[in-house]
């Protein structure tokens, strides 16, 4: 064990003690210091994540001591504030999935179309005008979107669909879709613009039109980036809180019908967090179980995104 290392130490050239050595030591110290600083900065995000997971898991653990995991996953009622409380996540999950699905039906086609237009068709001048507007759209606080849903979109939907309730998942989902368009379109556009020009030239040289080139060559070439954009959009939709809290209603409702009102996981969490349930009560702890479910959903989406990116990564 010892022999090789002592042999290599012996073969090193003898150290010369000089000024240069002192400088070297100083430089070494500085490098180490900066490295530590950078490491510290990076650790903050890691530690925060670990802290959040720790809180979620430990609080959920207390919750699951009272409510069996099985009934949490299969009970179709979520009534933590009733005299006979039920803690079934399914209604909240249904609300989350339905609003997200409506949002994606809006955001994916529109976001993709915008990305194709901006990347492949728009003249630079047009792009310079449209992009800031999209960024603005992405910067509007979601609470504003929530009231936009409640006061503009839902009344319009009520004209089309008589008898529609004033709170519903359709209106909330549509507006949520509009809110996540910028995320989808800007990432997808970046992915398409990264496709090298010689790929497009290959298609044009074959007699391809702009549209054929965009749809049959550029999009497949940018597939991994476009899928990432979609995954980000889905994560946003699943985690989105204020729009659904304001416009989808606050009643847990085990339904996939977007015309009904319902509550999502995130909206439930705000409701309880803002309410006056005593800390440590089982009702209060339920938000950690709900939060953990939400986090597992977005985490698995990120994993799917990661796998897709690796799988479809293109070598140009």
């Amino acid at each position: 064990m010892n022999t090789p290392s002592s042999a290599s130490a012996a073969s090193l050239p003898p150290l010369v003690v000089s000024d240069r050595l002192a400088k070297k030591a100083l430089r070494h110290f500085k490098e180490r210091f900066i490295e530590m600083l950078l490491f510290g900065a990076a650790s903050v995000s890691v530690l925060t994540t670990v802290g959040i997971i720790w809180v979620l898991v430990s609080e959920s653990y207390h919750f699951f001591e009272t409510v069996p995991l099985w009934s949490f996953l299969t009970d179709t009622m979520w009534t933590p504030l009733f005299a006979d409380p039920h803690y079934g996540i399914l209604p909240l999950l249904a609300g989350t999935l339905t609003t997200s699905l409506v949002a994606l039906i809006v955001a994916i086609p529109l976001g993709t179309t915008i990305a194709i237009y901006l990347s492949e068709f728009a003249r630079p001048a047009v792009r310079e005008i449209v992009k800031p507007f999209l960024e603005l759209l992405g910067g509007i606080p979601t609470i504003v979107y929530g009231y936009f849903a409640l006061t503009v979109v839902i009344p319009m939907l009520q004209l089309l669909i008589p008898g529609l309730s004033g709170f519903n998942m359709l209106g909330a989902g549509i507006v949520m879709g509009i809110a996540i368009i910028p995320y989808v379109s800007s990432l997808a556009e970046d992915a398409m613009r990264a496709v090298p020009m010689n790929m497009r030239e290959g298609s044009y040289a074959m007699g391809g039109t702009k549209l054929q080139t965009a749809l049959r060559v550029v999009m497949p070439a940018a597939l991994s980036g476009i899928l990432s954009a979609y995954i980000l959009g889905i994560s946003r939709a699943v985690g989105e809180t204020m729009i659904v809290a304001v416009a989808a209603g606050m009643q847990p409702n085990f339904t996939l019908n977007p015309l009904e009102s319902a509550q999502t996981i995130s909206a439930y969490i705000v409701q309880v967090a803002l309410g006056d349930l005593p800390h440590g009560s089982i009702g209060y702890q339920s938000i950690f179980a709900a939060g953990l479910s939400l986090m597992l959903m977005t985490l698995s989406l990120n994993l799917v995104g990661h796998v897709l990116r690796r799988r479809y990564r293109e070598a140009y």
């Binding site: 090298p196 010689n198 790929m199 497009r200 030239e201 290959g202 298609s203 044009y204 040289a205 074959m206 007699g207 391809g208 039109t209 054929q212 049959r216 060559v217 497949p220 070439a221 597939l223 293109e314 070598a315």
Partner: protein, 295 residues
């Protein structure tokens, strides 16, 4: 204008050749001993560049070029870097239309119909349907080998599976790639080697039976073996299609081409049969470039 020089007899040329020029024409002479060059004189003109100038914005990159491109022959464009070879080549399929600020002046007439390819009334897509192009860097699409070759047919609306199968096979055979890929037609094209990718790009063009094939330094990204296979292929293709090739490699120009155009600073300095240009150039500049004293 310069094409009068192409009518000289070949043996005269050799007598007048300088030793340097001769040493560079070994490839060419081996071809000629196979009787390839003998047919050069008879080829009709497939495309005629007429007093063609080209502008990138305000910069005049090509200055009134006139040049015949003979049918089912290989014409090489040579000249130092930046002289405008690619610019001229890319005018033939209106590639410059893709970027703003570019301007054509003059004409490139495609025979037999005498269409001016550069006329604003002519749809660039129509032009590109008739003229194929192979690029410097192989650029297969992110699709399977099969779909790469079928691409041109599909965008022309061909959906019949058996027609596609036949044409894809034919094109891959034409590009000397069939035997290497016939059992993995549905693998991604990016899994092929660089030389195979370049032959795939050639097959992609062949599938739609272009009248003219443009090559812009098709072997500059390839190793010598892959280069040799592409050169062999170009050699076979000249029976079927008119070829225009840009190359930096003098041996390559001598080996594969029937005609050579020497360009310098956006102008056509000399055009003639490859045998004449390489053995007995009329201009001193051409000779200097070919023999490597300049460029």
């Amino acid at each position: 204008m310069v094409s009068s020089t192409t009518m000289r007899m070949s043996d005269q040329r050799e007598d007048q050749a300088t030793p340097q020029a001769l040493s560079n024409t070994a490839g060419f002479r081996s071809l000629r001993s196979h009787g390839v060059v003998a047919r050069v004189e008879t080829a009709p003109v497939k495309a005629a560049v007429e007093d063609f100038s080209f502008y990138y914005g305000d910069f005049k990159a090509l200055k009134s070029i006139s040049l015949p491109v003979h049918e089912k022959r290989v014409t090489a464009l040579i000249g130092p870097s930046g002289c405008g070879k690619s610019t001229l080549l890319r005018a033939f399929n209106r590639m410059h239309d893709l970027y703003p600020g570019n301007r054509y002046e003059g004409a490139i007439r495609l025979h037999p119909d005498n269409t001016n390819l550069l006329s604003p009334g002519v749809d660039p897509i129509e032009v590109r349907m008739r003229i194929g192009m192979v690029f410097q860097k192989p650029n297969p699409f992110p699709k399977s080998i099969y779909e790469n070759v079928a691409y041109g047919l599909r965008i022309r609306g061909e959906g019949n599976r058996s027609v596609l199968d036949d044409r894809v096979k034919e094109a891959l055979q034409g590009a000397a790639l069939w035997s290497e890929v016939e059992h993995r037609l549905h693998d991604p094209a990016t899994a092929l080697s660089g030389g195979q990718q370049q032959r795939l790009c050639i097959a992609r063009c062949l599938a739609t039976n272009p009248e003219v094939l443009l090559f812009d330094e098709p072997t500059s990204a390839l190793d010598p073996i892959a280069t040799a296979s592409i050169e062999d292929l170009i050699h076979e293709l000249r029976d079927k299609v008119t070829i225009l090739i840009v190359t930096h490699n003098m041996q390559q120009a001598a080996r594969v081409s029937d005609y050579t155009a020497y360009m310098y600073l956006g102008e056509l300095m000399e055009f003639g049969e490859t045998s004449q240009i390489f053995v007995n150039p009329t201009r001193k500049e051409t000779e200097d470039y070919i023999t490597g004293r300049f460029g």
